[in-house]
Amino acid sequence: MSAVAERDELLALAGVTCGYGHEAVLIDVDLAVHGGEFIGIVGPSGAGKTTALRVIAGSMRVAQGSVTRRAGLRMAYVPQVETINWSFPVTVRECVLMARVHGRRVPWASRAERAQVAAVLAQLDIGDLADRHIRELSGGQQQRVFIARALVGDPELLLMDEPTSGVDVRLRHEILHLLDDLNAHGLAIVLSTHDLNGIAAHLPRVVCLNRSVIGDGVPHDVLTTDVLERTYGASMEVLVHGGMPVVVDSFRRHAPHHPHPHPHPEPPPHARPHVHSEAPG
C-alpha cells in the first residue's frame, strides 16, 4: 500500500444528502478522511453506514451537497462477506487478479502481476492457498482474500463494510490486528461496524451515524451515553474498563421482568482491548 502524508485530506463529504427513491438515507452529512486515518462508522441498522461507504466510494449519486476526492485517489472496497457468492467458480488467485482491471488487456497475468499477487497473499498469510476455491477456506482466510483483492490495486484508502459481521471473537481479533498492521503501514481505512466494544472502541476515530452524523472523534469523546442514546434511540450506559469505554445495554441490565438480571455486569471478555495495550485516543 502507499504511504500517504498523515494529514493529507483524501476526501470530504460536505452537506451530503442522498437516498433511494424519495427516501433520504443520509441527511446533511459532513465527513473528511485524511491519509493514514482509521475510522469506524457505527450506528443502528438502517442508519446509512453502507450508503455512506458507497458515497465515499463514488458508486452512489448524492442529491445535495458535494463529495470532493483528492485527484487520482486510489480506493478499494471490501463488501460484506454475506453478499459474496461463495459458489462462484473462482480460485483465490483469480479472485485477487480480477481487481487488476486497468492496464493489461489480455486475460492471463504478467510475471509482474503474478509476483504482486504472490506478495500480497504472502503478506496476508494466505500465500499457499492461491489455487484453492474461495469456498474451501476458513472465515478468516475468506476475509483475507477480499482484503488481498483490495490491496492488489495499491489503494490509499480502504473501505470495508462490516468486516466482522457474523464472525467469532477469535476471527474478529485476527481481522482487527490485520487492519491495524495495514493502517500502521500508511493505509487509510474506513469501516462500518455494529460492534461498539469489539471494534469501534479500539479505533482512533469513531463516527456515530444515524442518517446524520451524531458524533465524530476519538472513542472517549464519542462513545458517551448522550451520543449513543441519540444515535441508537435506546438507553445505553458507558463504563470505563482498563481505560477503555465499554458500552452496556441499560435496558437489559435494569429490566424488572428479566429472569436473570445482572446488577453488576462485568464487560464481556470480547470487550477488552486487544489491538494495543494502551487505550485509544
Partner: protein, 294 residues
C-alpha cells in the same frame, strides 16, 4: 461405416450446417458461462423468443432477417438490460412482458400474413436445410466479436459477473459491460437461430456451462471447458441430426443433455454440489447500483 459417416460432407448445406452448429455451440458455450453465473438464464430464454418477433417482421417485410431480427434483438436486449438494472418493475416480470409480447407478435404476424422466405418451423426448432453461406458468415462475425470482447475485457467481465458493486468502485463501467454482454448475447441468439431454433437456444446457453461447472472450480477453466463442450455438442448433434433425420435443434440439445447426465453421474457428489450452486440465487443478480456519481 466411415463412408456412411463422411457421405453428408459431400453436400454443401451439410458442411455449412456443421460449421454453423460447431461455431454456435462454442459461442453459446462461452457466452452461456456469463449468462448462467449472472443468473440470466431466463433472459437468454426470453431474448431468443423476443428475436422471433423481429424474425417474423423482417420475413414479412422481405428484408434480410439478420438485419431485421438483429436490430429487434439488440433493442430488446438493451431494454431488458435497462429494466433489469433500474428495477423499474420486477426484472422477471419485465422480461416476461417484453419477450413474450414480442414472440406473440411474431406468431400473430405469421398467422395473419403467412410465411415467406425463412421457414417458420426452422425458426422455432432449427433446421440444417436452411443454412446458407450468409449464416456461416454471420456466426463467424459474431464469434469473432464475442471472442474479442471476452479476450480484451476478460477481467472486467469476470469482476462484473462476480461482484458488480465492487467492480463499479474499482473503476469498471459495469453498465457498459452488462450492455455489451447483452448485445453479444442477442447476436449469438440471432446467428444461432437457424440451426438451434428460438425455443432451444436457452439449452445451448445453459447446458455447456452447467457441465463445465460440475468439472471445475476455476472460472478460466470453466470458460474453456464450456466453449469446447458446446462445440463438440454442436458437431456431434449436427451429424446425428443428418443420420437420424431429426431436426438439428433438438438433436444438439439432446446430445448436450446426455453429456450433462453422464457428467452428473460421473462427478458424483462433488459435481452435484457444484451444479446445485448454479441454480442458487446469484448475487450477480442482486440489486444494481445507481449510476456512478462521477
Amino acid at each position: 461405416m466411415i463412408d456412411e459417416f463422411l457421405r453428408p460432407f459431400d453436400f454443401e448445406f451439410f458442411r455449412n450446417g456443421l460449421l454453423v452448429a460447431t461455431m454456435s455451440g462454442a459461442l453459446c458455450g462461452a457466452i452461456g458461462v456469463y449468462v448462467v453465473l449472472k443468473g440470466m438464464s431466463y433472459i437468454g430464454h426470453g431474448l431468443s423468443h423476443a428475436i422471433f418477433g423481429g424474425f417474423a417482421a423482417s420475413s414479412l417485410l422481405g428484408i434480410n432477417y439478420l438485419l431485421g431480427a438483429g436490430v429487434w434483438g439488440v433493442v430488446s436486449a438493451l431494454m431488458i438490460n435497462g429494466v433489469t438494472r433500474r428495477r423499474i418493475i420486477g426484472s422477471d416480470a419485465a422480461i416476461g412482458v417484453i419477450t413474450t409480447a414480442s414472440f406473440a407478435l411474431g406468431l400473430a404476424l405469421f398467422a395473419l400474413f403467412g410465411t415467406s422466405g425463412r421457414s417458420f418451423d426452422a425458426a422455432l426448432f432449427g433446421s440444417i436445410l436452411g443454412v446458407g453461406f450468409d449464416d456461416v458468415i454471420a456466426i463467424f462475425v459474431v464469434s469473432i466479436l464475442a471472442a474479442v470482447l471476452i479476450f480484451l475485457r476478460y477481467r472486467a467481465l469476470l469482476f462484473t459477473t462476480f461482484d458488480p458493486e465492487v467492480a463499479d468502485v474499482a473503476g469498471v463501467n459495469t453498465a457498459r459491460m452488462d450492455a455489451l454482454l447483452m448485445v453479444v448475447l442477442a447476436g449469438s441468439i440471432l446467428a444461432t437461430m437457424q440451426v438451434l431454433g428460438v425455443t432451444l437456444i436457452a439449452a445451448a446457453l445453459v447446458i455447456p456451462a452447467a457441465v463445465a461447472r460440475m468439472l471445475t472450480n476455476s472460472f478460466a477453466r470453466m470458460l474453456q471447458l464450456a466453449t469446447g463442450i458446446g462445440a463438440v455438442c454442436g458437431f456431434a448433434g449436427m451429424n446425428l441430426s443428418y443420420h437420424l433425420d431429426i431436426q438439428s435443434g433438438p438433436t444438439i440439445v439432446l446430445v448436450a443433455a446426455t453429456l450433462f447426465a453422464l457428467v452428473f453421474v460421473v462427478t458424483g457428489a462433488t459435481g452435484r454440489r457444484r451444479a446445485a450452486a448454479i441454480a442458487a440465487p446469484v448475487p450477480g443478480g442482486r440489486a444494481p447500483l445507481p449510476a456512478r456519481a462521477d
